[in-house]
Symmetry: C2
Subunit: 167 residues, 2 copies
C-alpha cells in the first residue's frame, strides 16, 4: 500500500513530516548544507542507493526545497542547491544536532560542530521561545486550537478534552 500522506493534516508537524519525514531527505539537505551538492558525491558520502537518491532529489525539487543547477555544459552537469524553503528546513537539522550530541555521543565528543562562516565562532543550536528567548521544556506546553483551526465541534471537543484531561 502507498505510504500515508499528511499533506492535508491540520498540523504543522504532520505537514512538515510529509516533506521531511524519512531517513534520506534530511541527510540530503545536510549534504547540500555542507556544500556537497553533486550526485555521485552525495551517493558516496551517504551510502544511499542511486535509484533512491534520484527519487529523493526529484521529490525535494518538486517540494521546493532544492533546485537543480547546471555547473557546466558539454557535458551538462548539475548540482543541487538549497532554496529559501530548503534553508528554512535546515533549522530542523539544527534542532536534531543537540539531541544527537546529547544522547548518542559522550559529553564533549561530538564528531562535527558548526561555526559561523565569517567569525569562526562556535555555534550551538537551541530551541527557545521567540518572544521571551527562554529555552522550551515540552513538559510545560499545551497545544491549543489556533486561528486556522477548522473542524466539526464535537471532534474539536473530543480532541481537546483528551488533551487537557490527561496530564
Amino acid at each position: 500500500m502507498e505510504r500515508k500522506k499528511f499533506n492535508t493534516s491540520p498540523c504543522s508537524i504532520a505537514r512538515s513530516l510529509d516533506v521531511l519525514g524519512d531517513w534520506w531527505k534530511p541527510l540530503i539537505l545536510r549534504e547540500c548544507l555542507y556544500g556537497n551538492a553533486r550526485f555521485d558525491s552525495m551517493q558516496f558520502w551517504l551510502g544511499i542507493s542511486r535509484n533512491i537518491l534520484t527519487r529523493r532529489l526529484t521529490e525535494l525539487i518538486d517540494e521546493g526545497l532544492l533546485r537543480k543547477q547546471a555547473y557546466q555544459d558539454k557535458p551538462v552537469r548539475y548540482e543541487y542547491r538549497l532554496t529559501e524553503k530548503g534553508h528554512d528546513a535546515c533549522q530542523i537539522l539544527l534542532a536534531l544536532m543537540p539531541f544527537g550530541e546529547r544522547w548518542f555521543f559522550e559529553q564533549g565528543k561530538h564528531p562535527i560542530e558548526l561555526r559561523d562562516r565569517k567569525t569562526g565562532e562556535r555555534v550551538v543550536p537551541m530551541v527557545v521561545d521567540a518572544n521571551t528567548g527562554k529555552p522550551l521544556d515540552s513538559r510545560n506546553l499545551v497545544p491549543c486550537p489556533g486561528p486556522g483551526f477548522e473542524a466539526p465541534h464535537d471532534i474539536v471537543k473530543r480532541r481537546f478534552v483528551e488533551f487537557f484531561e490527561s496530564d
Copy 2:
C-alpha cells in the same frame, strides 16, 4: 532489503534520524506530548495501522523515548509516556512547527498553537545560537570537525576540502 542504519554514523543528525527519521515516530511523540497516550486513541487520531503502531511503539520504548505504564489492572491497560529522552526529542517537533506554519499554512492561519501550561501565554519555537541567543541562518554556518571526530586523514581532508571549496 533492510533499511539502512545510521546508528554508527559520525553525525548527530544521522544518529538522531535513526531514531526519529520516519513519518510515524514523530507523530506518536506528538500524541504523547498532547496527552494522547493510549493505543486505540492514538490509532484513531493518527490513522495509523494497528500493526505498525505496535511496532513503532516498541521501537520507541527500545530506544528509550517512551515507557509503558499500566493505568489500571483487571484488565491491565497501558499508556505510553515520554521519558526524559522523549521530552528532549520533542524539541525537534517544536522546530518542525514554525517550518510547517510558514510553508503549509497561510500567514496567521495555523491550526494549532502552543501555550505555556501555567501562564497560558503563547509560545513560538525558534532555533537560536545558545551562546548569543541570535537566530541562526544556515547560510552562515559551516561544519567543522568536532572533538570526537575520528577518521583516516585522507578521508577527513577529502570531506572538508569539499565542504570549504564549495561556495
